[in-house]
Amino acid sequence: MAKKHLIWNERYECMPDSKKKELQLERLKLLVSRVYDKVAPYKAKMDAAGIAPKDIKKLEDIAKLPFTTKEDLAANYPFGMFAVPMKKIIRIHSSSGTTGKPKVAGYTKNDIKMWADVMARTLTCGNTTKNDVVQNAYGYGLFTGGLGAHYGVEKIGATVVPISGGNTKRQILVMKDFGVTKMCCTPSYCLFLSEALREAGLEPGRDIKLNTAFLGAEPWTRELREQVEKNISIDAIDIYGLTEVIGPGVSSECMEKVGLHIFDDNFYPEVVDPDTQQPLPLGEKGELVFTTLTKEAFPVVRYRTRDITRLIPEKCACGRTHIRMERLTGRTDDMLIIRGVNVYPSQIESVIVQIPGLEPHYQILVDRQGAMDMLEVWIEVSPGIFTDNIKGLEKLEKRIRGEMESVLGIGVKLKLVEPKAIQRSEGKAQRIIDRRTVYDK
């Protein structure tokens, strides 16, 4: 039986290829001129590469432009990459940076409008209509997930329940009593919730009306999808985004669940070889790179996402002409995603090195207990911090944990261990042990 496919913005989502390419080129030219004029770091990089806005004559010319990296964002923290004056900026979001400083994204009124549109497209990919009640369990706040999804639901005219993350008992109560039909959260939380729903003896279709979940902010496997879908008889839709590009709403699966449609009238994707940095032929696997074609406040040109995937050129049965990306298969850096939050090992190290007497002998352990991610940091007790009283060590433990939690924004279990307890391979400590399976094999 053919699946039902609702489409939010047919004009752009089903735009013929040739017409879209014209639109993308036109927007790219404008973007490059604008960042060259308004954003000093872009001008500096383009000048150094010997390229000017007039050199962009066809879409392929994009490969001449320098990449933008998370290091560029850190160097220009907080607002140095913005292309409009602050009076035009109506909102700021942020996510983890590689050090103690976060990545900061600004939005103009038009950016928020565009974001709501791409999130409405995302939600409509899972057939959300104004008759739906959407439980939004993404965190509200600086994290893009909460407000990003929220505006998309409102744009459609569905009912949004802005419950934010956590408190599973309340999530279940609301889901049941409010007649929730759609859900937004991380895949691991959805699995956790689906198990809690079963344990509570709530039957899908009878006690709960949930039929679709939009799951993003972290990679997940096919097995996890199968489990969630089976547990509570729903469709689990993979959605993708990142703060630097806009937040959620960069791409989304449709009901076919074969790759994520990139909203490429706004976000132009490339896949490059992470080592040579050369563009790869269409369909080959490499690092995903985005250029924001329409963003005003914080445009990015050839931003290296560090996510590994391939583009799928074939047309999708749903009717959309948006190019698709395969589900993520890995990263080209050491970033971890824990309970939907980006964590760089360097953030953890930055806390350790600033505590006097503490030596940077540490290990990061990530595991999934049930459906929940656990982050554990082991630190060796060096003579510089050792004291003969328990209170002193517990105080130190509490201080380190507190500083880590404030930098990372998630709970950390800290463990003080004996010197040399952390395995050293060829003199170098193995820093990260991630026991989870988050990518498809």
Binding site: V381, S382, P383, F386, T387, D388, N389, I390, K391, L393, E394, K415, L416, V417, E418, P419, K420, A421
Partner: protein
């Protein structure tokens, strides 16, 4: 003042045995011992007859160990003996971080090991109060 050895121990199977084994193999005798622990780690505290040697072997074996100044004092081995001794720091606002006590074969009195910040002050207070405070030599040869 007497030096106590403090050793960081993970709450891990056999760790205590390994630490005491290291001390024993070096020919160092443990005179008094106490362990404080949490759910994740513990601190082994002991008085030995050769502090420097014990520290050296423990560190060679990869333990984090340090020497801590403590006060060793005698308390009569009878009901209320320890309480009378502890009245002295209490009445003089000296905060006792921790203590442990033991009874030896060679002495009639019990020996109390006290950890305080102001150990010199405590020593003179105890002596003034008629309490016998052990020298390092006396403590290690218990």
């Amino acid at each position: 003042m007497v030096k106590q050895i403090s050793v960081f121990l993970e709450n891990k199977y056999g760790r205590m045995a390994e630490a005491t084994e290291a001390i024993g193999e070096a020919g160092v005798n443990i005179r008094a011992l106490s362990v404080a622990d949490t759910s994740d780690f513990g601190i082994l505290r002991c008085i030995v007859n050769d502090t420097e040697k014990a520290l050296k072997v423990l560190r060679e074996k990869g333990f984090t160990a340090s020497a801590t100044p403590v006060v060793a004092a005698e308390a009569p081995d009878e009901p209320g003996g320890l309480a009378r001794l502890l009245k002295i720091p209490r009445d003089n606002n000296v905060n006792v971080e921790y203590l442990y006590a033991f009874v030896t074969k060679s002495r009639d009195n019990a020996v109390v090991i006290l950890r305080v910040d102001e150990y010199e002050k405590l020593i003179s207070l105890l002596e003034k109060g008629g309490v016998k405070v052990l020298t390092e030599q006396e403590a290690v040869s218990l």
